[in-house]
């Protein structure tokens, strides 16, 4: 399988993109197409219930943020999207996450986790590059899919590193070990690694919580840049970050989805009291 067709909005050459002004992101939720739909999803770690009948849509080519206090289940919810929980024994899903437009329930027992992970990528909280070269890291997702032709892999690696705002810093040392990069660079490398195989959705699990403010702002910039080209779901405990970079926000508390709405509305005039208490810092 050598051809890689971009599945969504046309690939934009990085130097043509300007960072959108951080103002209104008001899009009519009714008009925007949906990439996924979470329907009454519950999750159990063995006997312990961690998610309770969560429902919300994930809109195509938009950034959706999951916020909430520690232990509310936002990371658990995120990891349901790419079936990470299947790696460990004793976990159980109830309900559905339907991937659109083909309307496939990706947490169903009949769907292989590997199939889901080939279409939905993830970036973890702590940067975790492989102990290999920078090039090998970014190419990993392509090699795993059987894409071997060197010219194609080279092109994809360069594109991914450019989209991750890392190309200029590493273009002369692609064969060096990834461990020689700083923490912020390693995390951008992990983002490039997730981007290279062109997934339909990218999951970001608190990607900047282990980084310093400058590295954090570089990554927020790149999320703003690619946020219109790929569907992103980001978990963050930093409310200001959610307000800055997301189009839609979901607030969670104790395993329940309390409120889901456009980011502007959540942070200026939420409907639920619990949401208001959280964003004004009364708890969590």
């Amino acid at each position: 399988m050598d051809d890689f067709t971009v599945k969504h909005s046309e690939a934009v050459r990085p130097h043509e993109v300007s960072i959108p002004a951080p103002t209104s992101r008001v899009d009519s939720a009714a008009d925007a197409p949906r990439r996924a739909e979470v329907k009454s999803l519950s999750f159990y770690y063995g006997d312990k219930q961690a998610l309770n009948a969560v429902s919300f849509p994930v809109l195509d080519c938009k950034v959706t943020a999951l916020i909430g206090p520690s232990g509310c289940g936002k990371s658990t919810l995120l990891r349901c999207f790419n079936r990470m929980h299947d790696l460990y024994p004793g976990n159980r899903y109830e309900g559905e996450i339907r991937l659109l437009p083909e309307d496939l329930n990706i947490v169903g027992g009949d769907v292989d986790p590997m199939y889901v992970r080939l279409r939905i990528g993830m970036v973890f909280q702590k940067p975790n590059p492989f102990p290999k070269s920078i090039y090998d890291n970014v190419a990993a997702g392509l090699w795993v899919r059987g894409v071997r032709r060197k010219a194609l892999v080279d092109e994809r690696v360069e594109l991914a590193l450019q989209r991750a705002a890392l190309w200029d810093e590493v273009k002369d040392r692609l064969r060096e070990s990834a461990y020689g990069l700083s923490g912020g660079q390693q995390q951008r490398l992990c983002i490039a690694r997730a981007l290279a195989p062109d997934p339909e959705i990218i999951l970001l699990d608190e990607p900047t919580s282990a980084l310093d403010p400058i590295a954090t702002s570089k990554i927020e910039e790149l999320i703003a840049t690619i946020g219109d080209q790929v569907t992103i779901i980001i978990v963050t405990h930093n409310m200001q970050q959610a307000a800055r970079i997301s189009h839609f926000t979901a607030f969670m508390h104790l395993g329940n989805m309390v409120e889901y709405d456009q980011t502007e509305k959540i942070f200026t005039n939420p409907s639920e009291k619990r949401t208001l208490d959280y964003i004004t810092g009364r708890f969590g």
């Binding site: 024994p89 590997m114 080939l118 990528g121 973890f124 102990p131 990993a140 997702g141 795993v144």
Partner: protein, 314 residues
């Protein structure tokens, strides 16, 4: 949040004399260092004493003739050619059998097998087998390979027996090496959509290589000195010929006849000579011991260098 007054302790304050604590700590550290050093020196001294005893008796005996002669009734004419060639051939066979099998079994048990009661039983049995006396493996080989399968007193059978002996060591080392790979690497690999074999082949095995190599070093060091199982399967103690050479001048240039040939080994030769009354043979045995030590060191050195190369590339 209502204001809660800070808790006030009603107990007497703890007086901490930091200077005394530091002095006491330094004293107990020094005590432990001295004990540790003494124990180390004692064990090294015993080892060095043994080696010097060997060297005193046998070093002068080592020369080119000793290394290239076959055994003989006369101590002065006896040599260890058949012995060290036999040991090398057996070690190669053992390594080629034990390492691939052991690593594959370890990978299967750690990555593929479901974690249930049955696999727990297997794990207990494997670790137990590492402690079984080697003569039992010799008896197993005698009964199974020689009598039931009808094989002969071959280099191959010696290799198989010793491979069985060190298999548990390599399986356990492989499992431990895989277990010590951080979860993040696995999550990153599976998260990219890799299947299990891709994850094992591209990321887990390379990371586990140093640990696996350590297990192979430990196993081979054990195997090179084993005498009892080799005697049981019929290693000869006086052979005046070498197994056929693996390399031949005609096509296909490599032959495997050496696997099916009778053999002897260094520990066997030592044991045979030390059992004889003549002092000359005792000197020969000491010299053989020195050569065996040197061979072990060389083998370990090679493996350690390999492991260093792998680690520095990571």
């Amino acid at each position: 949040m209502t204001d809660v007054p800070a808790p006030v302790s009603t107990l007497a304050p703890v007086k901490v004399d930091a200077a005394t604590l530091v002095r006491q700590a330094k004293r107990s550290d020094a005590r432990f260092e001295i004990i540790g050093l003494a124990v180390l020196t004692l064990s090294m001294a015993v080892l060095l004493l043994l080696i010097f005893d060997f060297m005193f008796d046998g070093l002068a005996r080592i020369n080119v003739d000793f290394l290239t002669n076959f055994p003989s009734r006369r101590p002065a004419d006896a040599g260890i050619l058949s012995a060290w060639v036999g040991t090398i051939m057996i070690m190669v066979t053992t390594a080629l059998l034990a390492v691939p099998l052991g690593v594959a079994a370890g990978v299967y048990l750690e990555e593929y097998a479901a974690k249930n009661f049955f696999t727990n039983v297997i794990e207990i049995n494997v670790t137990n087998l590492a402690g079984v006396p080697s003569i039992i493996y010799g008896l197993l080989a005698l009964g199974l390979f020689l009598q039931t399968f009808g094989m002969g007193q071959w280099v191959l059978v010696a290799g198989m027996t010793l491979a069985l002996l060190i298999l548990p060591i390599i399986i356990v080392a492989t499992r431990e090496a895989l277990r010590s790979i951080p979860l993040e690497t696995r999550e990153a690999a599976y998260g990219l959509g890799a299947d299990k074999w891709q994850t094992v082949r591209m990321y887990l095995l390379p990371a586990a290589r140093p640990g696996i190599l350590t297990g192979a070093i430990v196993g081979m060091s054990r195997a090179i000195g084993e005498t009892a199982p080799l005697i049981t399967i019929g290693a000869l103690t006086f052979i005046a010929f070498l197994p056929p050479s693996p390399i031949q001048p005609e096509f296909p240039f490599l032959n495997l006849d050496w696997l099916f040939s009778p053999f002897t080994a260094m520990p066997i030769q030592m044991f045979n000579w030390i059992s004889r009354p003549q002092a000359g043979f005792h000197i020969n045995a000491a010299a053989t011991g020195l050569i065996l030590l040197a061979m072990t060191l060389l083998m370990n050195g090679l493996a350690i260098w390999l492991r260093y190369r792998i680690r520095s590339r990571q």
